[in-house]
């Protein structure tokens, strides 16, 4: 009961309410297509309103005037082929009027030819991966809101649930083609301001495209139920003018190559337990805790516990294999390509020494490389 009163009070007095504006209608968006879509939406809406006014008007007229209490005597007509034909034909004509512009827009939307840039968008439980086809650049994009915000331990910041660590950056005025696919279940990539929503199906590739007119930050969410954290899979796109985009791209590519070079050096290095454990904890909370839980207990029957798990306590190589290659056909993804060598070594070390799993084993980058090489 106390909880309910608290919730009620919170609803009516909490500061964030009324602070952020919600749009009550579709937004026209920032592409030629999204504006056409908005136009279609308003047209069909007005048509429905007009029909509604006529039909409900007639009905309420008769509710008011033809009531028994006003002495209305029932007429006995019950058929008129002429009327029936008229009210079959008129809706038909309205529908044709509606179908023509809808068809035009649809044909334009489904024509991804002559694209300037191609981005591969891959969904997986519960993050997006973007790969720039013509550049040496790919990265994961994960929700950046803190889980403590979700659980009410921290105040919810602006753009709660709609912030990611690495947004997708695109140039304006260029035709961008998206190739959508998925690594596990079906996801759906949706950015309302572009009027783009396309399912990411595992094992298949879908196409969509957009030309963004205005620079800005555009937000969306995964739109197909994809498991536990479906609600925590946002999309952020930053649209920049070409010059800024080029600069961003150059910087990112350089950083990407530097990182790869650094990975090679890591193989020769040995890290200390403290360093491994503190990095490992961070990586674990970001990449693993959604399923295996912060306390390592998992969700019984869905995600296994890592505390006291035979793999985390058993053979090191087997443990590395599971994390690097995943368990095909289960929700356990292959993290070998998602995390760097250092992070992999750290998180595995962490799992083998946290929550009372005191194996004392330290995993180094070179151990991970050994498993990766063995797999090839």
């Amino acid at each position: 009961m106390g909880r309910w009163i608290q919730l009620l009070v919170l609803t009516f007095f909490s500061p964030h309410l009324f602070a952020q504006e919600m749009s009550f209608n579709l937004r026209p968006g920032v592409t030629a297509i999204s504006e056409q879509v908005y136009g279609l939406h308003m047209t069909i809406f007005y048509i429905c309103c007009a029909i509604g006014v006529l039909v409900f008007g007639a009905m309420f007229w008769s509710i008011y005037h033809h009531r028994k209490s006003k002495g209305a005597v029932p007429a006995q007509f019950h058929e008129s082929t002429k009327v029936e034909i008229i009210w079959t034909i008129i809706p038909f004509i309205i529908l044709i009027g509606m179908a023509i512009p809808a068809t035009k827009t649809l044909l334009a939307m489904e024509d991804p030819s002559d694209a300037d840039i191609t981005i591969q968008v891959t969904g997986s439980q519960w993050k997006w991966h973007y790969k720039y086809f013509d550049q040496d650049l790919e990265f994961y994009s994960v929700m950046a809101s803190d889980w403590d915000e979700v659980n009410g331990k921290l105040e919810k910041r602006k753009n709660y649930l709609l912030e990611v660590d690495h947004p997708l950056v695109l140039p304006i005025g260029k035709k961008v083609r998206f190739l959508m696919t998925s690594e596990d279940v079906i996801h759906s990539w949706w950015v309302p301001d572009f009027a783009v929503k396309k399912d990411a199906n595992p094992g298949f590739i879908n196409e969509a495209w957009t030309i963004i007119d205005k620079p800005g930050i555009y937000r969306g969410q995964c739109a197909e139920l994809c498991g536990k954290d479906h609600g925590f899979m946002p999309i952020v796109v930053i649209a920049k003018p070409q010059a800024e985009y080029d600069a961003w791209l150059a910087e990112k590519e350089a950083a990407y190559l530097a990182k790869q070079a650094q990975e090679l050096e890591l193989v020769a290095m040995t890290m200390q337990q403290d360093e491994l454990m503190s990095l490992g904890e961070k990586v674990y909370e970001k990449s693993c805790a959604a399923c295996h839980q912060v306390n390592g207990l998992g969700l019984p029957g869905v995600f296994p516990a890592l505390k006291d798990s035979p793999i985390a306590l058993g053979d090191v190589t087997k443990h590395i294999e599971v994390v690097v290659n995943g368990e095909p056909g289960t929700a356990m993804q292959a993290f070998g390509k998602q995390l760097g060598l250092k992070e992999l070594a750290a998180v595995i070390t962490y799992e083998r020494n946290a929550w009372g799993n005191d194996t004392g084993d330290l995993v180094q980058a070179k151990d991970v490389v050994a498993v990766q090489n063995a797999a090839q």
Partner: protein, 529 residues
């Protein structure tokens, strides 16, 4: 038709047979079975409603307060399954059991033992489904549409129970449908030609064919899920040469006709109630029959409008868009006919009529949003948002469920032989009407504003509207207990009802049977004018 009087003599013996609980377990009487269906449906309505309350309580505020996301997903899934297969469909079967024999002048359903069986397997199906929630790993959490591979590779261990429960529900529906068809084709009183059948009978007749056509498809879909998950097949797995989108085609080939299964009998109910309280014959009887049949026919060629974002060829998208838009024509004809029936009538507004009028207006609003959803380019924006949630709750709650309520009020005097309390009925109506709109109307705005469906938490700008929606939800849930109280009060202590309590009512059940209707409705066939 002619055998009715021969059967008559041996009815007398098992009339007084078992008493107490066994009477209900062993009964083959259409009225007993109809009542059990209706009570069962109401119980499921409360259980599914309780799950909706959990959902709305969690969504009352942004952030996660009450439940974990995985449990939230189980609630949305099981809420949907229970409402569709446990509340709406059994309610219609219950109404068919009660009304079809009385309306066509028959003593009972044609296949009484199968009737008993088709009801009694249902409680088992739902016990299995509900029990799976308590298994390790939880119950079904992949949405009532159970898209693969979320429902195959990635689903909880309890999925086999889910599959088994759906199979039983499907068998029950098919048996119910066979019974309706056989009864209507064989037990009509002499002179009751097809074009004299009340529209409720007609709409159920067509619905029964839809059921027989598509429930096996659903059975196929769940079986493929079962073998994909447990026996290594790859119907829906690209790695083994399958296709996850194939699942959606199969599911919606069942699912779209299913939508009409849940609304065609409503059309029949409204077509009985509106003329009764307008004191004027139904306008355009034959066009109503043809409209029902064409809606049923079209329902087989529109399934992929649920799948526009899956990446179909543009030609297919166009085909399904046009066919879907076309459905609004026969549906429109129905609405126009009801309004024309009221036009120049002599209207009174007892509770059944109130629900019927609310049905016409609110179902039409659901139809409008359906038409908007049919426009493929715009559907890309609406799809999988709260706009869709608003749409199907308008057609299912203020559509199907309101019509069931209307039917319950309308025929309650005939069933129980007593009048319900009109004041309480109106209270129930107005509470439901206001709260249901506070509950579902703002969902349109949430969807247009960009809130996806099936999420346990949302961005801050959706907070106020969600709070309002939740309050509407709690109010709507509570209002239904007025109905429960009213029904119990009516059965125990209502005023005795005359054979025909509604001045304008027409049909064999009012003109030829007393209230309450006798145990074996017509032991000799009535004369049909």
């Amino acid at each position: 038709m002619s055998t009715i009087s021969d059967v008559h003599s041996d009815h007398e013996e098992h009339h007084h047979a078992p008493r107490g609980l066994m009477r209900w377990v062993l009964t083959t009487n259409h009225k007993d079975i109809g009542s059990m269906y209706l009570w069962f449906s109401f119980a499921m309505f409360i259980v599914g409603g309780a799950m909706a309350m959990i959902i709305r309580a969690e969504l009352f505020q942004p952030g996660l307060q009450l439940v974990e996301p995985n449990f939230f997903n189980q609630m949305t899934t099981v809420h949907g399954l229970i409402m569709v297969f446990g509340a709406v469909m059994p309610a219609f079967t219950g109404l068919a059991n009660w009304l079809v024999p009385m309306m066509i002048g028959a003593p009972d359903m044609a296949l009484p033992r199968m009737n008993n069986w088709s009801f009694w397997i249902l409680p088992f199906a739902f016990s299995i489904l509900l029990a799976s929630l308590f298994m390790e790993g939880g119950g079904p959490n992949f949405g009532w549409t159970f898209y693969a591979p979320l429902s195959t590779k990635y689903s909880p261990d309890s999925t086999a129970l889910f599959v088994f429960a759906i199979h039983i529900m499907g068998i029950s529906s098919i048996m119910g449908a066979i019974n309706v068809i056989v009864t209507i084709m064989n037990l009509r009183a002499p002179g009751m030609t097809y074009m004299k059948l009340p529209l409720f009978v007609w709409t159920w007749f067509i619905t029964a064919f839809l059921l027989i056509a598509v429930m096996p498809v659903l059975a196929g879909a769940v079986t493929m899920v079962l073998t994909d998950k447990y026996f290594g097949t790859s119907f829906f797995d690209a790695a083994g040469g399958g296709d996850p989108v194939l699942f959606q085609h199969i599911f919606w080939f069942f699912g779209h006709p299913e939508v009409y299964i849940m609304i065609l009998p409503s059309f029949g109910i409204i077509s009985a109630i509106v003329p009764a309280f307008s004191r004027k014959p139904l306008f355009g009887y034959s066009s109503m029959v043809y409209a029902t049949a064409s809606i049923a026919g079209l329902s087989f060629v529109v399934w992929a409008h649920h799948m526009f974002t899956t990446g179909m060829p543009v030609e297919a998208e166009l085909f399904f868009m046009f066919c879907t838009m076309l459905i609004s024509v026969p549906t429109g004809v129905k609405v126009f006919n009801w309004v024309a029936t009221m036009w120049k009538g002599s209207l009174t507004f007892e509770t059944p009529m109130l629900f019927a009028i609310a049905f016409i207006v609110l179902f039409t609003i659901g139809g409008f949003s359906g038409l908007m959803l049919a426009i493929t380019p715009v559907d890309f924006q609406y799809h999988d948002t709260y706009f869709v949630v608003a749409h199907f709750h308008y057609v299912l709650v203020t559509g199907a469920i309101f019509s069931i309520m209307a039917a319950a009020y309308y025929w309650l005097p005939k069933w129980s032989g007593r009048m319900y309390d009109e004041g309480l009925g109106r209270l129930h109506f107005w509470c439901s009407l206001v709260s249901v709109n506070v509950l579902f109307f703002p969902m349109h705005f949430l969807g247009l504003g960009g809130m996806p469906r099936r999420i346990p938490d949302y961005a801050l700008q959706f907070a106020d509207v969600n709070a309002i929606v939740s309050i509407g939800g709690f109010a709507f849930g509570l209002s239904q207990f007025i109905f429960l109280y009213l029904v119990i009060k009516c059965i125990r202590s209502g005023e005795p009802a005359p054979a025909k309590p509604w001045e304008g009512a027409e049909g064999l059940e009012w003109d030829n049977l007393p209230s309450p209707a006798p145990y074996h409705s017509f032991t000799t066939p009535p004369e049909i004018k």
